[in-house]
Symmetry: C2
Amino acid sequence: MTTFTEQAPGVAEQMPAAAEGFTLNHTMVRIKAPERSLHFYTHVFGMRLLRKLDFPEMQFTLYFLTQLSPEDSIPEDPDERTVWTFSQRGLLELTHNWGSEDDPELSYHNGNADPKGYGHIGFNVPDLESAETWFDDMNVEFIKRPDAGKMKNVIFVKDPDGYWIEVIQAELMAGVGS
Amino acid sequence: MTTFTEQAPGVAEQMPAAAEGFTLNHTMVRIKAPERSLHFYTHVFGMRLLRKLDFPEMQFTLYFLTQLSPEDSIPEDPDERTVWTFSQRGLLELTHNWGSEDDPELSYHNGNADPKGYGHIGFNVPDLESAETWFDDMNVEFIKRPDAGKMKNVIFVKDPDGYWIEVIQAELMAGVGS
């Protein structure tokens, strides 16, 4: 294991023993309408629904999604699948508060207009040009195409709730920043 | 590879070939003051700074963090490290717009008060009780302790900007939801 650490004020020199084994499991955003969001993330972005958890008492449902690796083997037993899901890294959790899809007043805030905060999730893709064509085929709304603006080779699209999604091809990012 | 898919309206039956190899690389949130955020995420949550990218022309810096696995080997060459970073899964990206730390008017919106949208990031930890003690030792602000509210065995804390962080122990989540 390389212990290389980039220099920046505030960065811990050593991993504290108490934080050993902590892993970033998921990012949660609220969605208005699960069917359109599940279609978008499973179809357009190739994610798989790992676990759907209903909480009838509190009137909400959680959907956990990820891209699978060939080595992934998902347990069939529901409780084992829950534990497995919470043991993964880098999942997307979509929260649906029941009835939100029927509320004409409700739309979620994407964090990129005031008041700002949350920005986006970002996907790495094998080929940025093919991805751009695919998003056009799927009528995905673009915020920014690869050749627009100052950040070349970076796509931004909107998900069905208007949340921003960055799309990059890792190999094309060499040389960005300093 | 198990092809088990949970049932829900909207979920794709088959992964579209065009989305093959897409992976969720990162989640981005804006931070006001990098030193306190880097201390928090590297010290309290045991993350490592993989890449710091400065964009002087646009006056911002990006910080990419993750927990490392023993098998991870980070390239020493800066450009290779950038490509490697964008090839990972489940990173946290912190965006610092230069000077925000000196703006007394600025605080970021965490998405959990109106207007709602983004919710939180969630960490899996090996032992929830030890984690609670550790957060107390580190003077982390709790939103919810494990025995409070309807969702037992779930901790919520705040990061330095007030963003919510969920903390769970995967094994204790068996049986939640339906």
